[in-house]
Structures are given as structure tokens and as C-alpha cells.
Subunit: 387 residues, 2 copies
DNA sequence: GACACCTGAGCAACCGTTTGCATTAATTGG
DNA sequence: CCAATTAATGCAAACGGTTGCTCAGGTGTC
């Protein structure tokens, strides 16, 4: 039903190759003919079939983006940034959601494989070896994962987790809990490793809970278990879980931060809207999206491997340059969900007096009900210590 | 680099058509040969090129889903439902985000056109005529929009808005405000129409504000203006704006619901986590996603228009059956952001006494801190009146 | 033993483009 | 006025598959 290049050729009385050139190399065709062709095309409502074109050029100008769960507000900023970066280079992004299911991930890579020029694998849950294998089918850039030989961009949550633990121990907490995330998550492992080390260094105990689904529900459901650990401060795998946890603790009659402190990771927009506002580790999601697109496009900018008609196996020298692995810094954003621990509050007579948070090392923090305008209010991390 | 069907044919000593059939019609090939072919394919890491296959079969087994803004939590449930419905029928969904930009919408339809079997246009911002035109390029199903001649699934927000206004006027509010959404939104027009009518019917005044960006930021920014209208109750275009508005009102020192009542629309998960919990109009987003996929797949289940080799213009009788337009019911979910208005509170001595919400017609509402487990807590709308 | 029938595989056209090369006509230089 | 360029277009082979036919050989039936 839709017009093809042949219809246009017939209508304008030229060969299909002329029509083709009218669109992909206009300077090669006589302005007069060009206009006639254009007019016919317009009239017939012709649009080049990008799939057919891709078949021969080897370039689709599309990028696939595979996401563990679009319902998680953590991803949209990354997606938006990737999209805008891609658009600038005349690429489109197709997103696919896996529902945290490793099998769906593999399936989607196959589905996308030949319809895109490369795939951004964001917070994958499948095994490294599988990823490696899939990378032979389509160029891959992984985000929040390190797999040898593949370009990757990771957010240094380990550093963030350490800052968070130091913040908590600095407030006097000695019994900590870590609310773990999903199985298969590299981020989860990093957090665990760093938090454990930081707790040990500060001579505090840390109970690890999990794996858990990385959602509000996952946080709510674990409130009871968290209480049972006896911890006075909790670091959650992400903000969503932290928020759910606060909700759950609230149901249990525990008050945040008076009875228990909670720290999230990600700094999603929502974390500024909860009561209390969430202390969290800000991850540079937008930068990650941009960087990943850049890495992908740089990497396959020259490939295309178009073997000329008679051309034999002109094995183009494998110029696969250094497969970079970028690591992005994170920072701690101190808000209202963390307060002094039992050790410190012992020498303060009042009970609920910690509400104004005297000990927090956050001089730049806006007063309660200060303008929570988007983008603002990101108190800088105490300083240095970043490795 | 990746193996093609020809490589497999060569390796297994058969013709390419046999390899092809091994994958797309296994019963036509001798088990012995089949195994040999399969082994070779496996060994070479061969995967059929779906784009090439689509070129001739006319079916990609992909569906495009164009979304105004994935950062809006309203969409994920719709997306998830569409995905699961699609997966059941062996289809994949490619999502694209337009950033509320009509131009990006058009662009993306073109980009997706030949890579998918149809596109779900969700809450489009472009004009009806443009949509109609695009629908000649690729099968379209519109969501939250009615365009003549195209299959559509809409959520009856008009009804929801009416229920909301009736709820508010029932509580004694006489000065209402409507916090409008984005330009070009069908939903926005519907809400406005219904809310205006309902307000008039209840003899209350309604000030319409907008258009505004349908985000938290949009809500926050309008708090001051809302106050200036003197309204004691506000209906917002969506939950995100309602939540932003509550935040903004809070900064202004206005208390919800004591000083001003707020109602949202959508019933996103988040609306159950704010303080106060948001009264809102629940929209059946998941059902919409499922339905839209069904309509699309049913519609093009038989087309495929594969013209046999010598076959002339066998104009397949245009069996385009009734292009259905499904409308899904909405319902009001009463929570804690709405309270009695000035008229009613006049005969109540206490000031902040409305906190326990005596007048609300929501018998099924869970007590404060009842289990806010996902899926539960959806108090039924007062009853009937649904048109 | 002749015939119809079925199975399994090959042949080649086709999907809608792109692109290296050949062809033609118009232009330029000497 | 002729040879050599140059500009514009046509030709046909790809790209990686699918599929209607044809064909060879084996089996069953009378």
C-alpha cells in the first residue's frame, strides 16, 4: 500500500536509482529532475524504507536502550540524556524494558540486534559471560557493570556507599543495616563491598539484608526485618527502597530520623518530596546516558564493514581502539532522613530534639521549606575523601 | 562479520532455502538435515536477520510505543501492561519518548514506521490532521485521544473530573481552580470541559489556569497563582502537578487539606506515599495498554498484503472492520488531600479538626497507616452517577 | 510393471534500497 | 572540429532473507 521508490520512479519517469539519489545524494542529480522527483514523492506520500536502506548501508541510525525497569525513576534522566545526545547526532533511541528479568534481556538484545547500530545495556542482570557472547551479535555498551573487553560506564556507587556509611558512623551510629538490591546487580555488589569495608573501618557492625526487589514494595516489605536487626541506621540499595522502607517503618511506629536513619542511593527527584526529605547518594545519571551514547557512536563510527561488490575479504584492520571504561563520581546529599545515633544522643537530654539536626555536616542545606526548586538543594559532600 | 544464511548453507552443504526453512518451517525439512543445519548455525553463531526477514514477510513482530514523557510515573504501568500483552503474542515493544514535543512525535513515527508493525501513540500532542496523515504510513492506535477513523482507547477522564468536582462541591467548596495541563492534550480539554460543566451544575465557580507543563515543577510553579485565585479546592491535570502543587502550597504556608484541598488525576503509585496522601481520579492505565495492543494486533492480523510473485494487483477487499473506539471508566479515590470547604467548616468550631475527615464518603478507606501495599487501598467511588 | 502420490530439497524471483560502473549528452580546451 | 572532461542518468548486482514452483527419487496401489 505505501508507495515505494519504484512508484516514484514510474511517476516521475526516471530510474529508481535517480530517485534514490534524490534523497541520499541530492547534489548528484539535476535540480530540475530533483524537483520533479520530489514533487512526485510528496504527492505519493513516499518515504524511504529505513529498514531496507539499513540492509545495504549497514547503518540504521537507531540505538537500543535496554532498561531493567522503566517504572524506576532512576532511569528517566539517563534515558532523556541519552536521547538528546543521540538526537544531536541524528540517531533515534528505542527503549525496551525487561522487568528485571535476565531472560527478557537476552531476548531483547536479539530482537534489537539488527534494527539498531548498537545497544546500551543498562544495569543488566544477566551474567558477564552471556553479555560477552551477545556482544558478538551487536555492538554493546554496558552501564553500571564492568565486563572485560566491553566499553562501559559505571557510576562509582562504591565511593558513594562509603561516604554514606561514614556519614552515619560520624553521626554516632554503630549498628548499621544494608538493604540489598536485586540479584545479579553489579551495583549491588559494589555497594555491599564498599559499605562492609567502611563499616569495618569505623568499627561499626553492618547487617546485610537481601536480595530484594529494588522497588518501594521491596522497601516496605523489609521494614519489619530491618527493625529486627536492631540497626539504628540503614543504607538502602536505592531511593525507591529507602522511601518504601520509610513508609514501612512509619507503619511500625518507628520515626525517621529520630528512631532510625535512612539513606538512599540515586537521588531521584522524588527523594526531595518525601517527608522527611531523603538523605541520599547522588548518581550522575544524565552524564552516564550521554557518555554511553558517545562511546557507542565513537566506537562504530567507522565500521559499517561494507564489502564492495566484487570485493573479497578485505579484512579491515581491527582498529577497535581501547575499550574505555569510564567511572563517574557520586556524591552524598544530606537531607532530613538521617540524624544522630544513640551514642551521640545519649549526651543530649531532649528526646525528639534531633529534629533540627545539629550534627549534620551540611552547611549549605536550605532551611525547612526553603525553595525545593528542581536542580537546587544539592548540598555538596563534606569534601575530599573521594578515592 | 556476523554469519549469514549463506554461510550456514555453505557449511552444512545445503541450499540457503533449506536453511531458511529450518528456521521458519522446520516441519518441511528432514530431521537429519535439520539437525545438521542447526548444528552449523549454532557453531557459526548464526541468527536470522529480523530486518531482512521483515522486508519480505511484511511483519516485524515489533510494536512501537510513543510516549510523551517517560519520566511521568503515569506511563510505566501502561507500558508494562502493553509489553506483557505483546510478549504473549510474540511481539516486542520499542518505546520512544518525545519530551512533550509534537515535532519529535512526528519524527519518531517516521523513524519507527518500517521497523514495527504498528505504533501506539500515547497521549499525543500533535494535531489530529497530522495523526491522520501519519496513519497512512503505519498502522496507528491512539491512546488518550479521539481521531476519526482511527482505533483509539481513551480513559474517561471527563467522568473522573466530574466526580472530583462533585466530591469537592459536596464538601462545601464553592471556589474551585483547575490546574490545566499541556497544550495539545486531548485529556486536558476533556477535563476542562467536564469540570466546567460540573462546577456550573453545582453552582460553584471554577478558575482555569494554564496551559502548564504536566510535571511536579509545573505544579510547584503555579502555587502562588493558585492562591491568588482564592480557590479553596484545586483539581490538577495529573498527580504529578498535584504533588508539586502541594509542595508549593506548603512553601507558601498553606496547609492541605485544612486551608486548601487538592485532587489529582491518574492515581500513580506515588500518590499513596505523599503526606497527605493524595485524593485522585484513578485511570485504568494497565487496561489501556493491554487494549491498545489488542486493537493493533487484531487490526493487522490479516493484512500483510503479500503480493504473490506473478500476482497482479489482487486488491484485497479492504476488510478494515469497524475501527473501534474504546472508552475506559475512571473512578475517584478519596484519600487525605481533600477536606471540607469553608461553607461546611463554618459550623464546626475547631480549626484543624478536619484532619480526620468526617464528611468523606469513603467507607472502605483504610485507616491512617493501614497497609498501603501495592494494588490495594483503591476505595471505590461513591457509586453510580457514571454516565 | 505402470501409475499416482508424497517427501525433501533446489531454483530463482522478490522485498525496497544503495551504489560501482557504464553510457550518453553536453561542455570545454586546443 | 575533434578529443577529453564533466554532469546526469541508467543498469544491475548486491543486502539477507522467504516462498511458490519444479524436480528427483522413493513408496504404495491395483
Amino acid at each position: 500500500m505505501p508507495a515505494t521508490i519504484r512508484d516514484v520512479a514510474r511517476a516521475s519517469g526516471v530510474h529508481i536509482s535517480t530517485v534514490s539519489r534524490t534523497f541520499s545524494a541530492p547534489h548528484l542529480v539535476n535540480p530540475e529532475t530533483r524537483n520533479r522527483v520530489l514533487a512526485c514523492a510528496e504527492h505519493l506520500g513516499y518515504r524511504p524504507n529505513r529498514a531496507a536502506r539499513a540492509l545495504i548501508t549497514g547503518r540504521t541510525h537507531n540505538i537500543g536502550l535496554i532498561i531493567a525497569d522503566i517504572a524506576n525513576p532512576f532511569f528517566p534522566p539517563l534515558i532523556k540524556a541519552a536521547e538528546s545526545q543521540a538526537r544531536q547526532r541524528d540517531y533515534h533511541i528505542f527503549i525496551a524494558d525487561t522487568n528485571e528479568d535476565p531472560a527478557a534481556e537476552e531476548d531483547l538484545v536479539h530482537a534489537l540486534a539488527k534494527q539498531v547500530d548498537g545497544v546500551l545495556l543498562c544495569s543488566p542482570r544477566m551474567s558477564n559471560s552471556l553479555i560477552e557472547q551477545l556482544s558478538r551479535e551487536v555492538p554493546l555498551v554496558v552501564i553500571n557493570r564492568q565486563v572485560t573487553g566491553l566499553p562501559a560506564v559505571v557510576m562509582d556507587v562504591g565511593q558513594g556507599a562509603r561516604l554514606a556509611v561514614e556519614h552515619l558512623t560520624g553521626l554516632g551510629h554503630r549498628e548499621l543495616a544494608l538493604l540489598g538490591g536485586p540479584r545479579g546487580s553489579w551495583t549491588n555488589r559494589e555497594i555491599r563491598r564498599a559499605a562492609t569495608a567502611a563499616a569495618r573501618a569505623a568499627d561499626a557492625s553492618l547487617t546485610v539484608l537481601g536480595p530484594n526487589p529494588p522497588t518501594e514494595g521491596g522497601g516496605i516489605a523489609m521494614a519489619e526485618q530491618v527493625r529486627r536487626t536492631g540497626a539504628t541506621a540503614v543504607l538502602a540499595y536505592n531511593d525507591l527502597m529507602a522511601i518504601g522502607l520509610m513508609e514501612g517503618l512509619d507503619s511500625l511506629g518507628l520515626r525517621v530520623p529520630q528512631d532510625i536513619s535512612v539513606v538512599g542511593i540515586d537521588d531521584i527527584a522524588l527523594s526531595r518530596l518525601t517527608r522527611p526529605k531523603l538523605t541520599t547518594v547522588a548518581t550522575p545519571t544524565a552524564a552516564a546516558g550521554r557518555t554511553a551514547v558517545d562511546m557507542l557512536l565513537q566506537h562504530d563510527g567507522s565500521s559499517s564493514a561494507r564489502a564492495g561488490r566484487g570485493g573479497g575479504r578485505t579484512s579491515t584492520a581491527d582498529d577497535r581502539r581501547t575499550t574505555a571504561q569510564v567511572s563517574l563520581q557520586t556524591e552524598l546529599v544530606i537531607r532530613d532522613s538521617t540524624g544522630v545515633g544513640p551514642a551521640a544522643s545519649a549526651d543530649r537530654p531532649g528526646t525528639a530534639a534531633t529534629a533540627d539536626r545539629p550534627g549534620a555536616a551540611s552547611p549549605a542545606r536550605p532551611g525547612p521549606h526553603g525553595h525545593p526548586a528542581p536542580g537546587g538543594a544539592t548540598a555538596a559532600t563534606p569534601e575530599s575523601v573521594a578515592s
